[in-house]
Symmetry: C2
Subunit: 314 residues, 2 copies
């Protein structure tokens, strides 16, 4: 039975999965991420842990390699250019280093958002679609592009940076990236709180949002209750995100958009706001693409990472 | 010597080239496009002409097939969905039909703008770059995406529709596509005339543009003469097109943008206006991509079409 380890390296925890070539998760583990000493312990910790579990999992299992998802840009040659979360400041050949620590076991590396997109395209909401774009709505907005079943990295590892598509060059507030009017400023959990504050300050209408601390969750809960100002916030959010997906459509015309990240836990309620605007703003030829919620939750990362190795097997 | 015919089907003329696998054009021809009878003569005319020249070119030449660029969307399965210029109203398997007319010679088909992009990526300004985006500035704005040396069609053939990226949802004037605020409304030859009219009506400043009929050419000529209102038009044009390319960068992060089409004949003068805005609006990681003028002129189409066949040979 052909298997691979999928490793999803986060800023606080490293998730590791042993994954079969048909996408079944045989076993999962989690170890803490030690980011001190400039993140130099991260790869040795992974190597040591895998050395341990490898013996334990030996029987009847043919491990063809390790896929690694890391929080930072990875260029077309597999170099991790930097990783703020792991305190990696210089470009690092993470795959080569880990491979050497594990007796030349083959290792492939990808950006973590891209790995999650690959996981969803393969085993999740993408449902085997060959051209899937995943958008992750969390504190920021991340993204990943899957083309013909593989991650599209771009020449500098910057493909799929959906959160930093500019949708408002006139924006006064600066985005974390230093520019103005990025999609992330409106469609992230932080962005929707900002939109809600704007909407509430622009109306005297009653709203349950005035009685609670505003968060992405409280906004979507209020939408579910039919709260008018909250619905206006959802409309604005949908305008920006629908526009962002329409921009993606005009460049690469995928067939599925998968919406994931913390905000997607609000559920199906968010989809109509995105879809309505997407279908109005995308070219007619591309306007029938599917927009759906992510299906794999936290497992997307380890599945996608393992898929990096398993995709050449079938 | 391996060769292919590259056929670039336009609304008034069909260009045909006999192309060697290293990209040399051995010979070129042109025949009129007969679009009457719902465009049903187009493929038979091409077949008859190629049957004629084939005999003439027989010696020492191994023709591996025919590449066809057509003015209309071509989906991932090679179906030409429609072609207004050729009066094709139903989806048509143009490659299959032409192949059958020519004793099963292999035929591959692509959208003409995509074929031109492939030609430029292969033998022109792309200079062999694997990830090139071409933007064609004419009456409208067209585009083509080349990834790993091949055309990226998208699932509905709508990838690379750079001209219909929305850069202003508040636009009152409707685009030809039926939507509002498409890049084409500002960055095409028609768009720049509109921008010029706006700029001139908003200022009393003297301008050579007031003494001539306004056209894309007269605007760029005036920019070259240092005419201030014309320079303001160029700035606005550059803002929109630079923004458009930055949006492309955020999705697929290519390494070269090739600017072609009629307006590119204005020359190098247009590049700084595009580049400045692109570099300011693209993610820093992607901001060093090259922006350059197309190099092949009318030959891009036949070269790209032939490349469809020759790309699997090397």
């Amino acid at each position: 039975m052909k298997c691979a380890y999928g490793v999803d390296v986060g800023g606080t925890a490293i998730k590791i999965g042993l994954i079969e070539e048909d996408g079944r998760i045989i076993k999962k583990w989690e170890i803490p991420t030690r980011t001190d000493e400039s993140g130099s312990k991260v790869l040795p910790d992974i190597a040591a842990f895998i050395r341990g579990i490898r013996t334990e999992n030996a029987e009847g299992i043919d491990i063809i390699g390790i896929g690694l998802g890391v929080p930072g840009p990875v260029d077309g040659n597999g170099m991790v250019l930097t990783s703020a979360n792991l305190h990696w400041e210089e470009p690092i050949d993470a795959a080569g280093i880990l491979s050497e620590m594990l007796d030349d076991t083959e290792v492939r590396v990808a950006n973590d958002a891209n790995a999650a997109a690959l996981g969803e395209a393969w085993m999740g909401a993408g449902d085997g679609s060959s051209d899937t774009v995943m958008v992750t709505l969390g504190t920021g907005v991340g993204g990943g592009v899957i083309h013909q079943g593989r991650i599209y990295t771009g020449v500098d590892g910057a493909a799929g940076e959906i959160g930093h598509l500019c949708v408002n060059p006139a924006e006064k507030v600066r985005c974390n990236c230093g520019r103005h009017g990025c999609l992330e400023q409106y469609a992230s959990a932080t962005g929707i709180v900002r939109l809600a504050t704007e909407v509430l300050s622009g109306t005297t209408e009653n709203s349950v949002l005035r009685q609670r601390p505003i968060s992405a969750k409280s906004v979507w809960d209020a939408v579910k209750e039919g709260d008018e100002p909250a619905i206006e916030v959802a409309e604005r959010f949908g305008h920006y995100l629908g526009w962002g997906l329409a921009l993606v459509a005009g460049v690469i015309n995928p067939d599925v958009y998968v919406i994931g990240g913390g905000m997607s836990s609000a559920g199906e309620v968010i989809l109509p706001y995105i879809e309505k605007n997407y279908r109005a703003m995308a070219l007619p030829a591309a306007s029938n693409a599917r927009v759906c919620l992510a299906a794999l939750g936290n497992d997307a990362g380890i599945l996608g990472a393992a898929r990096l190795m398993l995709q050449d097997e079938a």
